[in-house]
């Protein structure tokens, strides 16, 4: 006798049940990391415009988290926790980092700006790993241990 394939809803139910019975729990959250600034989330691009001066950007957003040595790039970074994940006896959190890179021309006016989103995760078990911007931690590009976003990947 041929078996009937499972419907997506049935599959989802089985997956949820398996998850719950095995001790897997995902708690959705939406808060900033305690060390993160809170004025550099998804709303930043609306505060930026091509042609703005460096002074205007600094007066709007405040001190950047990183800047290039020649001050032609300012980086604003905010980190949010989006979920707490518990899987058996292990726990961790999943988050997102907003990285806003503002680039200025030689006259100190905004030439372009872009926002990068990177998912981050941290496990609390012994074999924990932290996934981050490894290129941000390189010490040879900016004042604050950053590195050029395009060269660093």
């Amino acid at each position: 006798m041929r078996k009937r394939p499972m419907w997506p809803a049935e599959l989802a139910f089985v997956a949820t049940l398996t998850c719950v019975l095995s001790g897997c729990l995902i708690i959705p959250t939406d808060y900033y990391q305690p060390y993160s600034r809170q004025n550099a989330g998804a709303e930043v691009p609306s505060a930026l415009a091509t042609g703005k001066t460096r002074e205007e950007v600094l007066l709007d957003l405040g001190e950047p988290d990183r800047s290039s040595l020649d001050e032609t790039e300012l980086w604003y970074i905010a980190s949010k926790v989006r979920a707490i994940i518990i899987l058996g006896d292990r726990g961790g959190e999943a988050g997102v980092d907003y990285v806003h890179v503002v680039r200025f021309d030689k006259n100190g006016r905004v030439e372009l700006f872009q926002t990068l989103f990177t998912n981050t995760g941290e496990a609390s078990s012994d074999d924990s790993q932290r996934f981050e911007y490894s290129y941000l931690l390189e010490p040879h590009f900016s004042r604050e241990h950053g590195q050029h976003p395009e060269r660093g990947r």
Partner: protein, 111 residues
């Protein structure tokens, strides 16, 4: 749910609560007048540096200085950038003219 999972959840909950509401870094006592003398138009860069010390960053050869400021019940206090933005409530930006006199300043809420 196993006992081990319950313990993990409890530990994580306690950790989150501690980080969210209880964690703090040592700082000088708050001072309501910390910025009073250095935010008048025309004040010199030297006066700002003498009062607030080394800025957390500077731009355009020192024309623009920034400081990280926290706030408690007693007033404002300076924060070290080593703790990132923990306990920091404002980024204060000072802009000076070509003669080194304060042209404008702004307190930008960061948290």
């Amino acid at each position: 749910m196993t006992l081990k999972s319950f313990r993990t959840i409890s530990a994580l909950t306690i950790a989150i609560l501690a980080l969210a509401s209880c964690a703090s870094f040592p700082h000088l006592p708050g001072d309501r007048n910390l910025l009073t003398d250095v935010t008048s138009p025309g004040v010199s860069r030297e006066a700002v540096l003498m009062k607030l010390g080394e800025p957390s960053s500077s731009f355009e050869s020192g024309r623009i200085l920034t400081y990280r400021i926290g706030e408690d019940a007693d007033g404002y206090f300076l924060m070290d950038r080593m703790v990132r933005w923990s306990n920091t409530k404002y980024s204060v930006v000072f802009v000076f003219d070509s003669n080194g006199h304060l042209q404008k300043y702004k307190m930008i809420p960061v948290r």
